[in-house]
């Protein structure tokens, strides 16, 4: 692209730049993920550290090896493999065995990303592809949830416990009223995070903190998180009106499961989501609706991962059909 051996260089305009680079953006995302990671370690202890370490190391190592096999420049210095590793770890249950995490990382980096040619070319969010592959191939291991430290009502001896959504799914089919459900999982527990669930999805406050960092550093815009969480809340409210006895209240739907982790970090992955603001709103709303459909009628208790993957598949079409109105064109239509 350039040789700067001689005295000075000639290049096309513009000659000034904002100074931002891809590694800097990925660095900011890692910083934004730290609160959720710390919350994970607080509630799930050593497991959190173990899993995150395994995921990050295997992601970076597999990226380096695959790019070396493909005889491409080792792309690990843009930190995107580290981000994928952390995101994957945050989406896994704390008690997941190590080798499964490695399998998930390999799928994420090799199949979902490097096979397309590395950063910028992948169609699906690598971390989510890794998680869904694990969810589909090891359903039991992926749905045994550890009891968090400082849990609200620790069950007497059991080492595992159902997540709020999981418990609700079984309770709902057995016809239990939602009120009995709320005492085992008070809203406060959902906010702070001392409830069973994936490593990074439990503490809503930590995730919000990370989200604010991302918004401030312009790594994401407000469109996707607001549209995602908004559509989940609206859908839950409609369900609540139609049949209060057999539907969770809106706050439970919004603060439980992977909504905040998905909306702030997974659905806002730059490469696989639409570019225009209208496109992002449509993307967020689509994710919210599909999540609620899967939660209400689907087979899996949590639909965030699948909904984001499906909307990733729709992104090229969304980009094509939500193009902003170009300066000077509206007038042309009228006069032409």
């Amino acid at each position: 692209m350039s040789d700067t051996t001689s005295e000075w260089i000639v290049s096309p305009s513009p000659h000034a730049h904002s100074g931002d680079t891809v590694p800097k953006i990925m660095g900011t995302v890692i910083v934004a993920l730290l609160p959720a990671l710390v919350a994970g370690v607080v509630f799930f202890g050593w497991n959190a550290v173990r899993l995150t370490a395994i995921c990050v190391v295997s992601c970076v190592a597999s990226e380096y090896v695959v790019r070396r096999i493909m005889r491409r420049d080792p792309g690990i210095n843009d930190l995107s493999a580290v981000v994928t590793g952390i995101l994957l770890a945050l989406n896994l249950p704390p008690t997941l065995p190590g080798w499964m995490a490695v399998v998930g990382s390999l799928c994420a980096i090799v199949i979902a990303k490097q096979l397309y040619g590395g950063i910028g070319y992948n169609l699906f969010n690598p971390a989510l592809v890794g998680r869904c592959v694990l969810l589909v191939s090891f359903p039991v291991a992926m749905t045994t949830w550890a009891v968090p430290n400082f849990a609200h009502i620790p069950p007497v001896d059991a080492t595992t416990m159902a997540t709020p959504l999981g418990a609700w799914k079984t309770a709902w089919s057995a016809g239990q009223a939602p009120s009995a459900f709320q005492d085992t999982f008070p809203l406060r527990a959902l906010l702070i995070g001392n409830r069973p669930g994936c490593l990074g999805e439990t503490s809503t406050i930590a995730l919000l903190l990370g989200g604010i960092v991302l918004l401030w550093r312009r790594c994401i815009t407000w469109h996707i998180p607001v549209a995602f969480i908004g559509s989940v809340a609206v859908f839950a409210a409609i369900l609540q009106q139609t049949d209060p006895a057999r539907n969770l209240p809106v706050s439970y739907h919004v603060f439980s499961g992977g909504i905040f982790l998905g909306a702030l970090f997974m659905a806002t992955d730059m490469v696989t989501t639409p570019v225009t603001s209208r496109g992002m709103l449509l993307f967020g709303a689509g994710c919210g609706v599909i999540t609620m459909i899967i939660r209400k009628w689907g087979g899996y208790p949590e639909g965030v991962s699948f909904s984001i993957l499906i909307m990733n598949a729709l992104t090229p079409l969304i980009n094509r059909f939500t193009r902003p109105h170009v300066f000077g064109h509206a007038v042309k239509e009228k006069t032409a």
């Binding site: 350039s2 700067t4 000639v10 096309p12």
Partner: protein
Amino acid sequence: MDLLIQTLIIGGTGLACAAILAVAARFLAVHEDPRVETVSAMLPGINCGTCGFAGCAEYAKDVVLHGAAADLCKPGGSETAARIAAFMGVEVSESERQVAIVLCKGDNTAAKRTVGYNGLLDCGAAQQVGGNGKACRYGCLGLASCARACPVGAIEIRDGLATIHPGLCISCGKCVVTCPRRLIRMVPESRSLHVLCSSLDRGPEVRKVCSVGCIACTLCAKAVNGQGIAMRNNLAVVDYTVPLTEESIIAKCPQHTIEKRPGTKGEAA
């Protein structure tokens, strides 16, 4: 017994369907001239567009329906033109095959460089910022736009200079249009003596920027006393309509700009 039933069932369904299709085919008939098919089969099918049409199929349709000339297909050359002419019953004049050549010899070793270049590796893009730092304003930028434009990959960039293999060239002329500095020319295939420079600078400037550029010393023009090589604003320009066989000019040229490039047909004049 059931053998009869089987044939009846299948036969009956087949007959019913055939009846429906026969009726439909009558209403939806579309007429197409068969000759277009045969003519487009004769064309090479590269869709290079030098005949001025959007592709071989388009050119074939025009030859058959609107009587376009039969020898417009350059890559096909004279054989294709002859075959189409014979098929369509028209005559066509015999023309010698043309081959592309880059009129510049300044590779990285010969041509000096003033500044670095950082931007799109494309000749057109570099030309918009005044070249890629190569001192000579007329020389080949070596960023391979012509190589990418060549449908048969006949152009290779060696040490920063584009060189065309005459044997591979299908004379479609795409490189001629692509080069932003207009260095590529179509020359008759049999010619072998070429002045490989396009610089219009005066001698002293050329010497400052390139060691093999034409410094307009006019020795070659005098040697053939104006038959085939003429001096036009500080540059020796070969006139390809006049045969040129005087090989002594290669030695006479102080800058070795003149070179003998064997055409594909060996030593023809």
